[in-house]
Amino acid sequence: MRAPKPVTLRLRNVVYSYGFFLLLAFFIILFSFISNAFFTVSNWTQISIVACFLLTASAGLTLVVITGNIDLSIGSIAYVAASIIFLTADQSPVVSIVLAILVGVALGLGNGILVAWLRMNSLLTTLGVMIAYRGVSLVITGGSMHPAGATIAALGRVKFFGVLPLVFVVSLIVMIVLQVVLSQTRFGAYCYAIGNSEPAASKIGIPVRMVKTLVFVISGTCAAISGILSTMYLGEVTTFVGRGMEFQAVAAVVIGGTSLFGGRGNVLPGTMAGVLLLIIINNGLGNLGVSPYIYPFVAGVVIFLAIYLDSLKNLRRSARFE
């Protein structure tokens, strides 16, 4: 059998691969010790609510990034979904939610066709699409705030056992389903293969374009669900839905260990931990009574470090291949 690799190398790999988990654990422990309010059930319920929108959208984005692409339109799709809820306010909530999700599917499909079949650059394409989609939903809502239907707003307040919000359960289900898809299905294996080497994948006979299209459909669907969850929780359709979410999501996905170069990463635990890290920094600092104005700066520093780590990993990797 092959000789085991030197232990030092493994240790370094652990730090590189799981560094952000250590960071997350560090922050949780730190905040728990310093603040009494942090490690309480009600605070974690709060965290789960604040996190669920980003969790849902980032989960879908993770698949896109694993194939080596990017989707900047998720924030706009979330807002489109929210505005569909507003448009269909006179329908039954079921119809309204289903329609909103279908629109997410359709918009994602549009992205997929542009990127996979017309071979357009995903970064610039989804950037253009992002502007257009947001414009569409602003036209629908007139750029102002509208109350969501009573049933939908009520759904946003549902808590199982008084502590587990429905909106978080939905995002948890989305994440679990996507992680299972990634790790247990053919489709998941294809995603990684395409991210590793698209030319090799197509030579070996993987339906590359199909997989890429589907990945964008999934991302669009998740974004739509995220928009619906925001509407439920806020009880309103506002222009803040999904605003700036694309960059937060990209940051969370990268912090969670999914490489922007494609081919590696996961939804659970990676992306979830990435999102939680961002949310917990805000929440924890809030509980500490630190000036709230420092949160974004701390978050910025953490994101910068995480991204730096990702690049280091990739430098090492490319050095090995040359």
């Binding site: 990684y192 590793n196 090995r320």
Partner: protein, 504 residues
């Protein structure tokens, strides 16, 4: 299936390319449990033959039979369907995934109890089966990027087995392997043979052919120039067949040069690739560096120019009247470096010709206000378009719309414009049509007459013989001979590089 028929038979295959008959009535067969060696110099037709077999080229004439049944290949997929697999130098693999996933990626197993999911357990055990068949101890759950190049190659062979290939073609498989990995590969190939596969093995290294193969086929100029059983033949016989007696390339340079060294290379070492290489390059000289693939010729150039790391050695360069030590990076500044990979590091494809030509001497076009004199830049480009007979509508034509030969001339123009004292040419005529080849050869000669020193690497022996004033023969990372004058002929160069003493 016809009983007794050969596993694979190619009969009377001909293929014509513009200006060249790449394959002329080539027939051969490969049987089960047999390793056939395919040898010949570059351009002899090996690659064309294999591309016909792989469904990439369609032959003008001839037929292919698998198990006695006639088949037609229109795409690489057709070839695969008939059980033909290629193991190329550049491996197809997915770095972050496991060995088992790499083997079965295109046809993962369904989980018996839940068919939507894949069964990793089945994949792992099946992968282990194929790896064991190959005599390898790679664990199926290992991540691909943790394997060495040799191990990755074994995984790719396992993939070929897993898709049910009956014919496996190896194209120069050992060129990036260590000695130990090579032994492992040979063991694997022998296993394949024992499993009853038909194997075609293409290599420049005759020792490998003699060690591994049962039969051999020699191609030269698109025709079969010898075949038979390995046990009936000596290395010398094969060399004779590869070189042929009929053609002896005419040497067009027979001039006496004043030996005035411009560059002196001393004891360059780089891992196992280069062992203590030293030579001098004189003013106005065309110095050929001849060697087979893997002999270290490209590595030598890259080491001298500081593009790869070196472990030892030093360089001296003539400045004014004396040789002075110089670093590889500084030397790059005095050299023009022309490679076959002009798309990656030779040209700015989406830019016009004139911007490509002026890049190496931008400072000369600056006016006193710091503006570039575009007109003068274009004038320079036009001058070179005329001088080198670049077929382009004008100096503003974007380089990507030119043919390969004209693109290569633009690369020449770029370095001529810097008035580089040393030109380093690595396969300068690869992918260039015959007419342009001739023009480039003439250009190289003209330049040397004007005093430019040239270091020439080429796989085409005709080019090497007709251009070089002197030839260094490299073998296994060391210089084995310094051939001059009338000794520069194909018999000498081939036998020296293949590892025989001088034949004639």
């Amino acid at each position: 299936m016809t009983p007794g028929a050969a596993k694979l038979r190619m009969s009377d295959i001909s293929k014509q390319f513009p200006g060249v008959k790449a394959l002329d009535d080539v027939s051969f067969e490969a049987n089960r449990g047999e390793i056939v060696g395919l040898v010949g110099v570059n351009g002899a037709g090996k690659s064309t033959l294999m591309n016909v077999l792989g469904g990439i080229y369609h032959p003008d004439q001839g037929e292919i039979f698998v198990d006695g049944a006639k088949v037609a290949f229109h795409s690489p997929k057709d070839a695969e369907k008939h059980g033909i697999s290629f193991i190329h130098q550049e491996l197809l693999f997915f770095a972050s995934q496991t060995v088992a996933e790499n083997i079965f990626i295109a046809r993962l197993f369904a989980n018996p109890s839940f068919p939507l999911f894949v069964s990793k357990r089945t994949a792992n055990s099946e992968a282990a089966k194929y790896l064991k068949m190959l005599g390898s101890d790679i664990t199926p759950t290992t991540i691909m990027e943790d394997l060495s190049v040799g191990e990755r190659q074994v995984v790719e062979i396992a993939r070929a087995l897993a898709v049910g290939s009956e014919v496996v073609i190896f194209d120069e498989p050992t060129s990036s392997l260590s000695l130990k990995e090579k032994d492992t590969l040979f063991k694997v190939i022998r296993r394949l043979k024992a499993e009853g596969k038909a194997i075609i093995y293409i290599s420049h290294f005759l020792d490998e052919i003699l060690e591994l193969c049962d039969r051999f086929i020699v191609l030269r100029n698109g025709r079969i120039h010898g075949h038979g059983d390995i046990k009936d033949i000596t290395k010398r016989d094969i060399i004779r067949m590869i070189i042929g007696r009929d053609i002896n390339y005419e040497r067009k340079t027979d001039r006496t040069l004043v030996e005035k060294p411009v560059l002196r290379v001393l004891g360059i070492r780089s891992g196992a690739l280069l062992k203590d290489v030293g030579f001098e390059l004189h003013e106005g000289e065309i110095l050929g560096v001849w060697g087979l693939m893997g002999s270290g010729r490209t590595e030598l150039i890259r080491a001298i120019l500081g593009l790869d790391r070196i472990d030892g050695g030093c360089l001296e360069f003539r400045e004014k009247d004396a040789l002075r030590p110089i670093s590889p990076a500084e030397l790059l500044g005095h050299c023009g470096y022309i490679t076959e990979s002009r798309h990656t590091d030779g040209l700015f494809l989406n830019q016009p010709i004139w911007k490509n030509v002026s890049v190496t001497a931008l400072g000369e076009y600056e006016s006193q206000w710091g503006f570039l004199d575009t007109g003068e830049e274009m004038g320079t480009a036009t001058k070179y378009i005329d001088l080198l007979k670049i077929a382009a509508p004008g100096n503003a034509t974007r380089v990507q719309s030119l043919s390969g030969g004209n693109q290569q001339k633009v690369v020449f123009a770029k370095w001529l414009n810097r008035r580089a004292r040393i030109l380093i040419l690595d396969e300068p005529t690869r992918g260039v049509d015959v007419g342009a080849k001739l023009e480039i050869s003439n250009l190289i000669r003209d330049l040397s007459r004007e005093g430019t020193s040239t270091l020439l690497i080429t796989s085409e022996i005709e080019e090497m013989i007709s251009l070089s004033d002197r030839v260094l023969v490299l073998r296994e990372g060391g210089i084995v001979a310094d051939v001059r004058g009338t000794d520069i002929n194909n018999a000498n160069l081939m036998s020296l590089s293949l590892g025989e003493a001088t034949v004639q």
